[in-house]
């Protein structure tokens, strides 16, 4: 039996309290009778919002990588390290596992998210019926890996709080980490803004 979309039945649900509302009796913009949240059949401007946040994330990804994320100073002098520089340093000093982990969190995950959300938006924009189940899985995957990029931010935060020996050695966060944090937040918001139901709003998606 083919699954049936609520929209086909003229129904919609409140996203907060799951109250089922009869769409046929009202217009497009309604409030939930129970919790008074605005209820829509699909998230309003989902694609546009998601796209805007995705583009913002991609733009912010450049300063996040070009600016130093960590400023360390010790008696041997001070140095600024960028994300890529830090990964290379870990790799060179033999800590290839840490290097791989940071590489995963700071390069692989964000880039995957850009590509995945981009793909989702692209296919939804053109009402593609291609691989809908896989795209739904992809969406869930993007939601899942979203916060793992915060690993970098946490690493910098812990390093800065632990490495405080006054004149001997100290570490301070660089401007880059702020941008990186913004990248993570904006891509997560982009993923959240995307309405996965749109995947199924294609010919044959409902009935």
């Amino acid at each position: 039996m083919q699954p049936v979309r609520a929209i086909d039945l003229g129904l919609m649900t409140c996203r907060v309290c799951a109250q089922v509302i009869d769409r046929a009796t009202v217009g497009a913009n309604v409030r939930c009778v129970r919790c008074h949240r605005v209820v829509t059949t699909r998230m309003r401007g989902s694609v546009e919002k998601s796209l805007a946040l995705l583009i913002a994330g991609m733009i912010l990804y450049f300063p996040a990588n070009l600016l130093p994320v960590l400023h360390t100073s010790s008696v041997r002098g001070s140095s600024d390290s960028t994300i890529i520089g830090g990964i290379l340093e870990f790799w060179d000093t033999g800590s290839w596992d840490i290097a791989a982990l940071i590489f995963l969190a700071s390069v692989v995950v964000p880039v995957t998210k850009f590509l995945a959300i981009g793909l989702l938006l692209w296919t939804v924009r053109w009402h593609s019926a291609w691989a809908r189940h896989e795209r739904a899985k992809l969406y869930r995957f993007v939601e899942f890996i979203g916060y793992w990029s915060m690993l970098d931010v946490v690493v910098v935060a812990i390093t800065c709080s632990l490495l405080q020996f006054k004149a001997l050695a100290s570490a301070e966060p660089g401007l880059g980490i702020v941008f990186f944090c913004a990248v993570v937040v904006s891509t997560m918001m982009a993923a959240r803004s995307f309405d996965p139901r749109l995947i199924w709003d294609t010919p044959g998606g409902g009935a």
């Binding site: 509302i21 009796t25 309003r44 401007g45 733009i59 002098g77």
Partner: protein, 544 residues
């Protein structure tokens, strides 16, 4: 199924507001790029002999300890003779890279009495800059191998010293004024044309004001050991200069600089303080003296004194020969600096007596007429060194002075006759003062008493001593008799000793027996103890 009707509300918020986020992100990104581009200053290429301690991306370019750039690339030059270091300067430091700018690598350097760049021991080397003062901008520089001697914008004055030799001076050697360090040597080189050492020194403000045309500089290097007619002298400036050398300066005594004017930038570096502080020499006047007696202890460089003031020195000592009389006179040549006579010279000069060479010679003639003679004198009894004294000798025999002779010949008198006479007179006077008669009286009495004592010894002590010796001799003879080969005494002693030996043997046997059989003391001796039979050695070992 009854589904309630919801309330209807038209929405007012426009979704397009979300586009502000990427726009803000783009603006921030572009701003950063522009800011970065604006902050980027000129890129300079500096060549060094070696890239020791330099690291791409880490080595900083600093001016007054403020970072103004960073090394972005290090490459070998095409001909591989040096290293090319590319540095990116910040925008605010772009006026540093002009024609006269100097770059050098700051590394730890330690010398005697100074150290620099010690902070780079931990932090690693950095490139120091002395910004240029003018000229057009430039991107290629040749790095200095040693830091420039002067700090950024030092206030003071540079002076040039010329010296016969460098001594132990080197760049960085301190310059002292009243034993305060007020400057340092910044450069030294040999002047090709004059073969003199040229030393450039920098005197820090405000001490540069202490340098006047009358200032004298001297080499304060090392330990100055001087053994001369005046005795042993040891002079040092400070512990550091002993090892590293140094220069000291002070004003010459006021009286001597009245008619001396030197160009301000060029001074003479004297070998020592004494030379430096001596009145200016002026033109030397050569004199020659003939001595008939050998002059042991007179050396080249020995001082020539006029009424106790050193006015010159001996320059050569020659031995002449007169075949007729087979006589070897000694000819001594010396340099006299009339100006060293100071006030006397000025007075004489003012009277116009010595304006030309002939005048000087005529003046000599007058002095010789008044009894001026050269005389070798002992300057130091310890070393035996002699010096020449020019003095007026009353009643000196008249001599013929030849004003035409060059060098001027000075009449002489022989070594210290007067001195010797005075010494002898002194000795005689002291002898006179001795209470000789009283001493002789006392001696006579003492000798008489001694004579008496000796007589007593002779009369009484000696006969009794002879008697005692005879008795002793008899006693010894008796003892000798007792001990001869077949005397009864000796035979008795030998027998007694044999008996004692046998007794001891028996006693030993008893002791051994009791040791093994202590019960015998109570029980008595068993019937036949027998002699314990020696067991075979092997079996005995086995039992053990």
């Amino acid at each position: 199924m009854n589904i309630p009707a919801p309330t209807i509300e038209t929405h007012r918020i426009r979704v397009r507001l979300v586009w502000i986020i990427p726009i803000v992100a783009a603006v921030v990104g572009v701003t950063l790029v522009i800011q970065n581009w604006r902050e980027r200053g000129p890129r300079v290429t500096i060549t060094f002999e070696s890239g020791e301690g330099l690291e791409v991306g880490k080595t900083l370019i600093k001016y007054r300890d403020v970072t103004i750039g960073r090394v972005s690339q290090i490459t070998l030059s095409d001909d591989r003779t040096h290293v090319e270091v590319v540095g990116d300067l910040v925008k605010s430091a772009s006026d540093v890279a002009v024609q006269s700018a100097q770059f050098w690598v700051v590394r730890p350097r330690i010398g005697v009495g100074w150290a620099s760049g010690l902070d780079t021991l931990l932090s690693g080397a950095y490139i120091g800059v002395e910004p240029g003062t003018g000229g057009g901008s430039r991107t290629r520089f040749i790095g200095l191998e040693t830091p420039p001697p002067l700090d950024h914008g030092s206030q003071g004055r540079q002076i040039v010293l010329s010296a016969h030799d460098l001594g132990s001076l080197s760049a960085g050697a301190p310059v002292y004024f009243h034993r305060f360090q007020v400057g340092r040597v910044i450069e030294e080189h040999l002047d090709e044309s004059t073969a003199e050492a040229r030393i450039v020194a920098f005197i820090d403000a405000p001490y540069d004001k202490d340098i006047t045309p009358a200032t004298r500089f001297w080499n304060a290097s090392g330990v100055d050991l001087n053994l001369s007619a005046e005795g042993l002298k040891v002079r040092t400036q400070s512990a550091a200069t002993v090892l590293a050398g140094g220069i000291a300066f002070a004003d010459a005594p006021v009286s001597s600089d009245a008619d001396v004017a030197k160009p301000e930038a060029d001074f003479t570096l004297y070998a020592d303080e004494q030379t430096a502080m001596a009145p200016p020499n002026g033109e030397p006047h050569i004199i020659r003296m003939r001595f008939e007696k050998p002059l042991r202890g007179l050396v080249v460089g020995a001082p020539i004194e006029f009424v106790g003031v050193e006015v010159g020195s001996v320059t050569s000592i020659d031995v002449g020969y007169e075949p007729k009389t087979v006589h070897f006179p000694v000819f001594v040549t010396g340099k006299l600096y009339p100006q060293r006579m100071g006030l006397a010279y000025k007075t004489i000069h003012a009277n116009g007596a010595v304006s030309t060479d002939e005048d000087i010679v005529r003046f000599w003639g007058q002095l010789i007429g008044h009894g001026l003679r050269a005389q070798p004198r002992s300057g130091n009894l310890l070393t035996g060194r002699l010096y020449l004294a020019l003095d007026f000798v009353p009643g000196a025999p008249k001599v013929n002075f030849n004003p035409a002779a060059r060098p001027t010949e000075l009449p002489t008198i022989e070594s210290g006759m007067g001195e010797l006479q005075a010494n002898i007179t002194q000795v005689v006077k002291k002898l006179d003062a001795l209470p000789l008669e009283r001493v002789v009286d006392h001696l006579d009495q003492d000798l008489t008493a001694l004579h008496g004592t000796l007589g007593q010894i002779n009369d009484k002590l000696l006969p009794s001593a002879t008697q005692t010796l005879g008795t002793t001799h008899d006693a010894l003879e008796n003892v000798g008799d007792l001990l001869t080969g077949d005397s009864a005494f000796r035979v008795n002693i030998e027998q007694t000793l044999d008996d004692v030996q046998q007794t001891l043997h028996s006693f030993k046997a008893l002791a051994d027996y009791l040791d093994h059989h202590p019960e015998a003391l109570i029980k008595g001796r068993p019937a036949d103890p027998g002699i314990p039979q020696a067991k075979p050695a092997g079996k005995a070992d086995g039992v053990k």
